[in-house]
Amino acid sequence: MTAHVEYLAEAVTKSLPPIITSLSVAALPLMKIVKHCEDAFPLPVSGQLLGMDVDRVLEVTNCYGFPGAAGRGGGGEGANPFADPTGDDAAACTAALDQSQYQTDMMRCVQEVNIDPQVVGWYTSTGASCGAFLTQQWIETQFSYQNQLRNAVCLVHDPVRTSEGTLCLSAVRLTDAFMGVFRRGDFSSAGFSLASVDATRIITSVPITLFATSLSSAVLVDCEYAPPFSGAEDVELSRLGLNDRAGVEASLEYAIGELDGITREQGRYPFFLRSYVRASPAVAEKLRAKRLAGTDTGPIGADDEETGLAGLLASESSRLESKMVVAELTSVLDTVKLLASEEMGKQSCVGSLQTQDVLGED
């Protein structure tokens, strides 16, 4: 699509930092997202966020789901509304065209009933993947959004942890530094290190607050004390059940899988290193010394002329994937630690119940 190319070309020339500093989500879109993600579970789904930016706060006032998970299975190409339909795959092409038709129809419809017709971002469900969402496709989609809308955010919702009792919703953006790297398309070590981007600086999160209009608040007040939300049905109490071990185990297993990914990457990377070594004997000397010393690649202290370096790095495989795995692993491990500490809290509670006998007899 020509428009696609045009905005890419336009965006290369200018860099737009975001204006917003926080995100305000209304009750309706929150519930809609939770519902959509839950209905489609375990398939990951995504959808459009509608709202408006007021000064430095991005207000999300409504949303709608993207087709995809239900019909074609797995979100697929359908998740990216800016997808380039001139791709070689015919099916992807039709999907992208369907998608853009859907977008147009939906936008026309929401406008007719006075819903804010401005796209402010998108939401995605992490499905069954333990809160991990960072994939090549996610980055591409988010890049397209941020390229077109400087304030675009992505709301990431984890339906698994929400069902367990903790609303797990975060708003993320790609950092400006990473946007620059992605725009240049240079995923070599040089590309990342020149922009000072490492795994922890690919995405950044935006603080979320919730708000409800007066009428929605009225509904919430009435619901809060209604039977399905209070008494024995109070989530605050059902959360205390000692059954989260499965959550810890699943997350841990996922983390182990990711660690395997790193190991595979470590197995592949030496192929590049070898050619790297062969092409620059001066570097090779140092490197061999390092290798003998036991440290794998380490920082290389050799001098190298500019042209030779570019040629060397040309054959380097994309570093994006390994950075993504590292970033993802960091967040998954954080989740495991959080789950484990929650579990420990509950354990201690049970422990004190058993030692301080409530019946008063020994």
Binding site: A26, L28, L30, M31, V34, E38, D39, N62, A70, D105, M106, E112, N114, S163, L167, S189, F192, A199, L210, F211, S214, L215, S216, S217, A218, V221, D222, C223, Y225, A226, P227, F229, E233, L237, L240, V248, L252, Y276, D296, T297, P299, I300, G301, A302, D304, E306, L309, R319, S322, V326, L333, V336, A340, S341, E343, K346, Q347, Q354, T355, V358
Partner: protein, 316 residues
């Protein structure tokens, strides 16, 4: 009236309606965004009809533009059809199950709209949500004057003050047509029981919304702590009630007493050695998990370094 005895209304087979909270929020949002001069809004309800027990699950909704005056009504059929098609793209499981309107009572136009939805699905449900808070407030004030026994919000959403339901207590109707032979005499809206039924994720999200409304910041880590302190509060209440009964200040409730005894009996009484071992094992497992996670996290920056060449250093 007496003739009605000999006529049976059409059996619409809908016996109960369950509404997801998101539908109510959708309705009030639509009402808030209504065009100037509109006194009510309508929309389509999506969901699933269970024929075996005659219940309807309403899981979604969307607004439909309409125009009405005293004796004319126009529903945007085209819009409705487009939206249904669009929703079908996202979730094929949901079909039209009825329609919603805001207000406190049905009128002649409701019948016409209901007839329209009768063509879209077999047994449409009409959900009436009162979004007019002023009416609720007036009615509440009136009834508070009449009887001072109102116990405030604690009685919850089921409370209907002088015929004016709160926004969270919608009413549902199905229509029955009275006929003699082929001649349609009249139709009537028959109320059916309706319940707001949140799923677990719904409840979790609403819990955060409740807290947010009370200006409580709900950090994820503090969830357990909040839950425990809530449990403690409840136990204090129970303890106080039991103490009062023991001291003879209040008469004991047999049912409550039995329930308490049963609850206490539920607590497993484990031998302290066995428990210590179990407790220690579990704790050690969790501590090991935490330790390994921290360890792996510490290794990650090194792994990242190993998976790239340091070009900056190379250039210096």
């Amino acid at each position: 009236m007496s003739t009605d005895i000999f006529l049976s209304g059409d059996d619409t087979s809908v016996r109960a309606v369950r509404v997801a909270p998101v539908v109510l929020l959708g309705v009030v949002d639509h009402y808030m965004r209504r065009a100037a001069g509109k006194h009510r809004v309508i929309g389509t309800l999506l969901g699933v009809f269970h024929p075996h027990d005659g219940s309807v699950d309403v899981t979604g909704s969307f607004p439909v533009p309409h125009d009405e005056n005293a004796d004319e009504i126009a529903v945007d059929i085209e819009y409705n059809r487009t939206m249904v098609d669009l929703h079908r793209n996202v979730s094929s499981a949901h079909a039209i199950v009825g329609w919603y309107a805001t207000g406190t009572e049905t009128d002649g136009n409701s019948v016409l709209i209901h007839e329209f939805y009768g063509r879209e699905c077999a047994a449409p449900v009409h959900l009436l949500v009162n979004a007019d808070l002023a009416a609720v407030a007036t009615a509440a004030a009136a009834s508070a004057d009449a009887a001072d026994t109102s116990s405030g919000a604690a009685n919850g959403s089921g409370k209907t003050v002088a015929g004016v339901p709160s926004p969270a207590a919608p009413r549902a109707y199905v229509s029955s047509a009275y006929t003699i032979g082929e001649v349609a005499l009249r139709s009537e809206f028959r109320p059916v029981p309706v319940a707001v039924t949140p799923t677990t994720p719904d409840k979790v999200a609403m819990d955060v919304l409740f807290k947010n409304r009370r200006r409580l910041e709900a950090a994820q880590v503090d969830n357990i702590q909040a839950g425990l302190s809530r449990l403690l509060d409840l136990l204090t209440v129970v303890g106080r009630a039991v103490d009062a009964v023991v001291a003879g200040e209040a008469t004991g409730d047999v049912a409550a007493g039995r329930f308490l005894a049963e609850t206490l009996a539920l607590m497993p009484r484990v031998d302290s050695h066995v428990f210590d071992k179990l407790f220690g094992d579990n704790m050690r497992d969790l501590l090991m998990v935490t330790y390994l996670c921290s360890f792996a996290q510490a290794q990650l920056p090194i792994a990242e370094r190993l998976l790239s060449v340091d070009v900056k250093a190379l250039k210096q």
